[in-house]
Each structure stands twice: as structure tokens, then as C-alpha cells.
Symmetry: C2
DNA sequence: GCATATTTGTCCGTATGTATA
DNA sequence: CTATACATACGGACAAATATG
């Protein structure tokens, strides 16, 4: 197993990588279900039936149950003993908690902007551009996705793998609220320009202005999400 | 389903709680394994054998596998496809990431101290006292636990359930490093007094001094953990 | 309240795939 | 390359809890 004679310790990095992301059926299934849930295909509160899923996708019940555990662990679903697994229904407190965290973490990330290495900045710009392109194509769900990518990019300035994963999970929860919204356009459209503004302020080294704008942005977002959430709840 | 005629929506809170607490074998098993792992009973890198665990605890392989998924999701174990599940081995980058997050999050929490409600402060004092009591009893692992509770208490000032859970998981990872340390006393003892100092500064509304002290504390902690970690690695 | 059907919880056996000596 | 050991995944079985009429 010695690699000394033939190169560096990472000459087989590709193989190592391949080994790392080799993954079982449960994880793949969890990924499928996660996508369906955050896209609103399974509405919040709806039941994820073991039998339906394992017959539709031709996997065994054990595998389905392993995937369910992962989704519950990510708060995208809730498990009630002997009753089943259900798509998570967010409460007002959940939404407020998510926005409280976003304000806290994104502001902390912005404060570290001056020390941000170049490669962390490109994804942020790309997210802005993807949002604009999706808006032109009238694809407002993709605009929402790009918006979340923009904010994930902000967080990535910190360069903490754990924080990246955390914010990704938290924003995935938020998509449970987006998923039941009508009028995605009226919600997302104003933020296209506001993202650009924040980015411009950051690029011009006006970090404090950017932080203030970001806080306002997130306060407005919280208010709007809560309001639209209440409206959609009132309908049902 | 109406509860209007007979009282509040929470007249059956005890029942609700009982339903929530009802939990399957996999979660209970995960809790057992989690405790064992963070206490160092299973050393980092050691293998968690499906067969051994399911024969020792009389549970089925399926149940064990469900519990394993949860531990892997919490980063306390790693899953290598078709090879098995192993207790996580932290790298230098992991330890640095944990401390980077602690500095970021605990400082942010301290900044919100003036708005902290009274009930979030009591657990912090209690953790300090538990640490002192454990030191008197020469129980240095409990001192370490109390120290982590102190810092969890700081974070709880923010009153974010998600952040609380996040920091709990991150600190659980850190215990993987503590678990292999000899000389727990020389590591933990100095921090008993430093925790008290931070707490005193906070109580006296000297938030900025407290924050500075906290940053120093965490920088020292990171340095010491990395050093002791290297020493224990060198032995092996 | 009761009886029934449905669904979950848990365990087991087995065939296949993968890694390692 | 072979053999062994183990993980992966499936499917069946039955008990326990729940939902339905």
C-alpha cells in the first residue's frame, strides 16, 4: 500500500473521492425524498407512507425506514411513534427562529468579508446571476433557490464546513414555507435587486452598510413569510 | 376533536408529552451509543460492529443500522460503504472548525446578554457550581461536562432551539478529542476560574471585557486541545 | 365502546456484493 | 485468485399500536 515510490499521498485522490461518495440506497432515497419535500411535492403535514414508497421505488421497508430517520433528523419530517412519518409543518416560532439565525449568522459572516478568499466570492456572484436568469425565464421557484444559494454563499465566507451544513439544513426548512406559497413572484422578485445591492456594498468595502441592508432584508423577509404563511393557512 | 368546551388547548399536555417522548428502539439505542462514544468508551477509529451490538443488546440488525445512521448524521461516527461504521476520528481541521464556531457563536450570544431573560441565566451559574463541585470530588470528566454545559448556557442566551441543538452536537464532537486525553485535570482545571471570570464580567455589564476574555479563553483552549491531541496521537 | 382493517415496530433468514487476508 | 468475513438489501413474519366503520 506504499505510495512513496510513485508520488504524493494524494496521487489517488480521485479514487479516494469515489470511495467517499459511494453511498447506499438509504442515502440516495433520502435525497430523493428531501428534494420532493422541499419542492412542495409532498405538502407539509402529509404522510410519508412506508408501503407506498417502497412499492413505488422498489426498495425494502427497512431501507425506507433508514431514509426516514435521516429526514426526521434534518427536521424535514416528524416521526410519531406507531403512527408514521409526516412532512414537517412549520410554526410561527420555527419561521422566526430561522430568521433570527439568518440575521445572526449572515451578519457575522459579512463582518469577515475583508478576509474572504477570492474563491468564496465567485459562487455568490453566480447565484445572483442565476437568479436574474431564472426571473427572465419566469421560473420563480428557481429564483427562490438562487436566492438561498446567494445567502449560503454569504455564509461560506466563514469557511466553516459545519456552519455551511447547518445553514443549508436551516434554509431547507424554510423551503417548507415557500413550498405552500402562492405568488412566489411577488415574494421573490424584490429580493433580486436587494441581493445585488448587498453585493455591491460588500464589493465597495462598505461592510457596515451591507450589514444594515442585510438586517433590513431579513426583517422584511421574515414579516412577509409569516404573513403569506398565515394567508395560506387561513385558506386551508 | 374539539377541546373548547372543557378547557384550554393544553389541558392534556401530559398526554401530549407522553406521546412525544414515546420513542422507538433505534432512538434509545442511538442514545446509548452516543453516550458511550462521547465518553470514550469506544475509542475514535474503533469499529461499531452491527453483529456485536445486536447480540449484546438483543436488538435486530435493522434497528442497529437505523441507530448508526443517526450517529453518522451527528458526525460522531463515519460510515464507509460496505465496510462498516467507525467512531469518528477528528482531524486538526475539525478541531479548529469547532473552535472557530465556538468563538463566533458564543461571542454573538454574549452580545445579546443585556436582553437575556432571567431564566436563561440560572443554568449558567449552575454549570459553574457543578464544575466546582466536581473538581472538589476530583472527577475531572464531570468538570469537562460542566464546562461544556457552561458554554451551552451562554449560547442559550440567544434562545434559538436550532442553535442550541447545533452547539450541542458540535460540542459532542469535541468530546471525541477530550475522550482520548490523559491529564484531563491539567486541561480542565484552569478553566474553572476563567468561567467564573467571564460570568462575573457579564454580571457587571462589562460585556466587551467578557467577550475579549471569551475569545482568549477559546484561543487558548484550541491551542491546548490541538497540542494534547497531537501528543496522544504521537503515542499511538 | 367495540370489532376490524391498516400501518407501524421489530425481528429473522437469505442472497448478493464488497473488502481484505 | 481464492476464501473468509462482513455489510447491503430484500422479503417475510408476527406483535403492537392506530385508524376506521
Amino acid at each position: 500500500m506504499s505510495s512513496v515510490e510513485s508520488g504524493t499521498a494524494w496521487e489517488n485522490a480521485a479514487e479516494d473521492r469515489a470511495r467517499l461518495d459511494r453511498v447506499g440506497t438509504a442515502e440516495k432515497l433520502a435525497e430523493i425524498l428531501r428534494d420532493r419535500v422541499v419542492e412542495g411535492y409532498f405538502p407539509p403535514g402529509s404522510r410519508l407512507s412506508e408501503e407506498v414508497i417502497c412499492s413505488l421505488l422498489n426498495v425494502s421497508r427497512n431501507t425506507v425506514r433508514e431514509a426516514f430517520r435521516l429526514l426526521c433528523h434534518e427536521r424535514l419530517a416528524v416521526h410519531e411513534f406507531a403512527r408514521g412519518v409526516f412532512v414537517r409543518e412549520l410554526s410561527d416560532e420555527d419561521i422566526s427562529d430561522v430568521y433570527r439565525l439568518r440575521r445572526m449568522l449572515e451578519c457575522a459572516a459579512v463582518r469577515e468579508f475583508p478576509a474572504a478568499p477570492q474563491e468564496t466570492l465567485r459562487p455568490i456572484e453566480e447565484a445572483i446571476n442565476r437568479g436574474a436568469a431564472a426571473a427572465l425565464a419566469n421560473d420563480w421557484r428557481s429564483v427562490g433557490t438562487a436566492d438561498l444559494h446567494f445567502h449560503q454563499g454569504i455564509i461560506r465566507i466563514v469557511q466553516s464546513p459545519r456552519l455551511d451544513e447547518f445553514i443549508q439544513r436551516v434554509l431547507a426548512e424554510l423551503r417548507l414555507a415557500f413550498a405552500v406559497m402562492p405568488n412566489l413572484r411577488s415574494f421573490h422578485e424584490p429580493y433580486l435587486e436587494r441581493n445585488r445591492t448587498i453585493w455591491r456594498l460588500l464589493s465597495e468595502d462598505k461592510a457596515e452598510l451591507a450589514e444594515m441592508e442585510l438586517v433590513e432584508y431579513l426583517k422584511d423577509g421574515e414579516r412577509e413569510v409569516l404573513q403569506m404563511w398565515h394567508e395560506s393557512q387561513a385558506q386551508a
